[in-house]
């Protein structure tokens, strides 16, 4: 859902898809880097809000995980997005309350309501919870480690072509099916409790107390977990006041199966997420711990289950505030908040001792250029001059068309500094920075002059402003699209109108760490490094 939301937002940001003739004229205002980034953040927030029915959690998720940098306007925009999502969702749930929309709308706005449980805890419970948090954090970071290894293996397998990909998916599905149908045979039949709130045994698609192979009046606890949608399994695990519903052995089998299946399923060619498997494994683990601590703890096993889910989420995702709010919105149990916060703190701290969050790992694995919020320690010992890529290609203020074409062809640089030289200035000085995309548009417009003179804004009159608007990824002008004749190579073009005359600059002796922070906080794409010079003001 997060993906879907972000993709829709990205599509809007690109002004619709030209391929499928879905373009809107008013969308052209979004054609720049900043608005596009904001839109994608809002899309991710809307995705989380819709998936977990947690609007505030969605805002926080987007801010904590998705947005690499943050503005108060962004907070307001994501809040607006998720508020709309919440209201639309509420409307649809009410429309579907008759049960005509399949499983949608089950549980209403609160998916796993456990607010009925009586929250009473004392010192031994808190000790149990701390232990749960520590082990949960370790298991979570182990999960990250294994997911990373499995993803690396899969990326090698998947490179061999589509057929191998499909084969892998089939194998994993077969394995999952075998587990789901085979393992419940290990469990023994349990007599139905007399005070069951739902029908027992149950032969519906979803619900608690599956009969499976058992005689009437009995149910198979393992089947109630395996042969269910993930949603229902989580709901069953979180159910309170049903201490004895699941055997310890059944919980253990289910936990091991879900933990392993979750790891090997992520990364195959199907749309699967991380959140639900982690919550499932975590809540099973929590219930297991709750059963083990039963003699000394007064806390309900359903609440232990919630805390287990929190510890797993904290151990893998390493988020805090947003997870806290998402769990609160999922379960509607405000009284558990102090314990959930405690568990998240502990499991995140434990996890951070071993490795990074699972999203950071995946970003690294995919080789996406993502800049860390904190500069690496080695950066403190380098200065900005050390990392400048040389040799630098610069243009003069009024440059030959041939030179520009040659540079564009032979380098992959995205930005080129423009240096004004005599006779346009007294001494060589930095005039600004031009971007590759803008150069291409300028060349396409063919605003060339025979002589080396300033053309001024005349150039821009030939080209409409909208052409300079940022095109969608992979949709921009390419060098091959240009059609420039040999005789035009010796003509001149004035770069002043399209140059950004005030790029952000740092002095060459600034420590790299400091420059990296500048780069990151401002959301820059290019930065100029200048030698020291006399300053004029403060």
């Amino acid at each position: 859902m997060v993906h879907t939301g972000s993709c829709i937002a990205s599509l809007i940001g690109q002004g619709g898809s030209r391929k499928y003739h879905l373009t809107w004229r008013w969308l052209r205002y979004f054609k720049n880097d900043r608005d596009r980034r904001d839109l994608i953040t809002c899309g991710a927030a809307a995705g989380v809000a819709a998936a977990f029915r947690a609007p505030v959690g969605g805002v926080l998720f987007a801010l904590e995980e998705a947005a690499s940098w943050w503005r108060s306007a962004l907070l307001w925009r994501t809040f607006f997005t998720t508020a709309v999502v919440a209201i639309v969702l509420r409307g649809f749930i009410q429309l579907c309350s008759t049960g005509t929309c399949g499983l949608f709308g089950q549980g209403g706005l609160i998916m796993y309501d456990i607010s009925a449980a009586n929250v009473v805890y004392s010192t031994p419970d808190i000790l149990a919870v701390i232990l749960l948090g520590v082990i949960g954090g370790i298991l979570g970071s182990l999960y990250n480690y294994l997911v990373d290894k499995v993803l690396r293996t899969y990326s090698i397998i998947n490179e061999r072509g589509a057929a191998v990909k499909i084969l892998l998916v089939i194998m994993i599905s077969l394995l999952t099916s075998i587990c789901s149908y085979g393992l419940p045979w290990l469990a023994t039949c349990i007599p139905c409790p007399a005070d069951a709130s739902t029908s027992c045994p149950n032969t519906d698609v979803s619900g608690n107390y599956k009969s499976f192979q058992c005689p009437p009046g009995h149910y198979n606890d393992l089947a109630s977990l395996f042969l269910n949608t993930n949603d229902d399994a989580i709901r069953n695990l979180l159910s309170t006041n049903t201490v004895k519903e699941f055997h310890i052995s059944s919980l253990f089998i289910f936990f091991v199966a879900v933990y392993c299946l979750g790891i090997i399923t992520y990364g195959i060619a199907i749309p699967s997420g991380l959140f639900i498997p982690v919550i499932l494994a975590g809540s099973c683990y929590g219930r297991l711990v709750g059963r083990l601590f039963e003699p000394i703890s007064k806390l309900d096993v359903g609440l232990f289950s919630l805390l287990g889910a929190a510890s797993f989420l904290g151990g893998t995702m390493r988020m805090t505030v947003s997870l806290c709010v998402i769990l609160l919105e999922l379960t509607n149990d405000l009284l558990m908040l102090p314990l959930v916060m405690l568990v998240l703190l502990i499991s995140k701290t434990m996890g951070d001792m071993f490795n990074k969050g699972v999203y950071d790992q995946i970003v690294k694995l995919k080789g996406l250029p993502y800049m860390e919020a904190h500069p690496e320690p080695y950066m403190k010992h380098l200065i900005a001059r050390d990392v400048v890529t040389g040799p630098l290609i610069t243009f003069s203020g009024v440059e030959k068309v041939g030179n520009i074409l040659h540079s564009l062809k032979n380098t992959g640089h995205n930005g080129f500094p423009v240096i004004d030289e005599p006779p346009f200035s007294d001494a060589p000085e930095l005039c600004g920075l031009v971007l590759r995309s803008k150069l291409l548009v300028l060349l396409k417009g063919k605003a060339f002059s025979k002589d080396r003179v300033l053309a001024g804004n005349k150039v821009l009159r030939k080209i409409s402003e909208l052409d300079f608007a940022k095109a969608g990824s992979g949709k921009g002008l390419k060098l091959e699209d240009l059609d420039i004749q040999e005789e035009e190579w010796d003509m001149y073009v004035d770069l002043h109108p399209i140059a950004n005359t005030s790029p952000y600059t740092v002095v060459e002796t600034m420590s790299l760490a400091k420059a990296a922070v500048l780069f990151r906080e401002l959301g820059l794409r290019h930065m100029c490094v200048v030698p020291k010079s006399q300053e004029v003001g403060l």
Copy 2:
């Protein structure tokens, strides 16, 4: 509470108070700008968390309102702080559950629990809620306007000395008392409802159904609101399934009284906040609207009351996410979340059409140097060169003591650029920036030399690093503390060791708006403006 939290944090940030002999050696590590700012943010978060028993709301409040700039590390720190607050609070509430701590602990972790109400709403309810949001936003911004006017009047009155201040406080308290004891006489006695959950009539300190002047078996509804703690009044207003408890006329009288008293009380010389009066007035307004819409709306008046509080908060404070979470944590009613978000959206938008948030107004009124997140529109037409304060005082790398003293005496500048001149460099170039406070420490240390030579790190050996640590506000070295003899005036001091050799710089032609964003996002205090020069890298 927010104030208290921030003050404690600020005290810790300054290394304790030397005046009261409360200093700790380990606190010296916090003696820098960044950590101090973070600490104060955490303090504000802890304050909100404790006041409203809303830990997550506290984190968001600190981020949305208090922190002018934001890092993911800060999120984690505030989360840690409020988690500790939540756990400590939970412990104390359990300790006080026997009722030995006065009113503390009433209501447990959820102060105004309305989760028992049945949340059902349809189209007419939503229309009513939208109207409520619009009017609430307008009333909220009117509140801001009046608070601003009243504060301006008070600041003139308060300047006349302590006696006038105390007189003002006495007058306001008298007025409040007259309202509280006089107005309830206007209300008629109402027979107690048969199904009252609490005793009726009630003669306790707090609680619902005050008897006041009424005969047994009757209660005075206006007295139940006036003659109560604010907390209990809010609880009474939010109480659900008690539609007829308060007369419309009583609600109207109480609303007008609370609205006006809230405005004139803020700003007098007593510790009072804005949150509780606004919630009180808002929930009364909401209940009033609920009563008026009774014929067409199925929503409980208690829930209308919550929405009224939300609309007032949105209209005055102009926060969104944090208010949403704080209200959620106060009332524990997740099902109301979509409506609360809707109301906040509407009331914030309405309020923003008229004036700024109340905190922004107060900051402006107090003349505190606070930088807006967004540059003003006029800044786009200025360039950085235009706002540089001249004439600039610079020092050369090795400067005469006399010159430095003279500059420190005659200017109020906080930072001085250091320019290296021949023979230390080929051409004049910017070496770095020295701060006033560091210059004073250096001069105090008297690391002078007779000749104009580089002293290197020898200087620093004379002065311990800790002396350079930032002192508490108003505690730093002052110019008068220096004791420099006439004959030392002609000696030289090497500024290289204490200069920051890589200040952030912008080119002089950068638009002021862009420079302001840089300044704000990085949390800078000084920025150098340099003329254009040839750059060496990208």
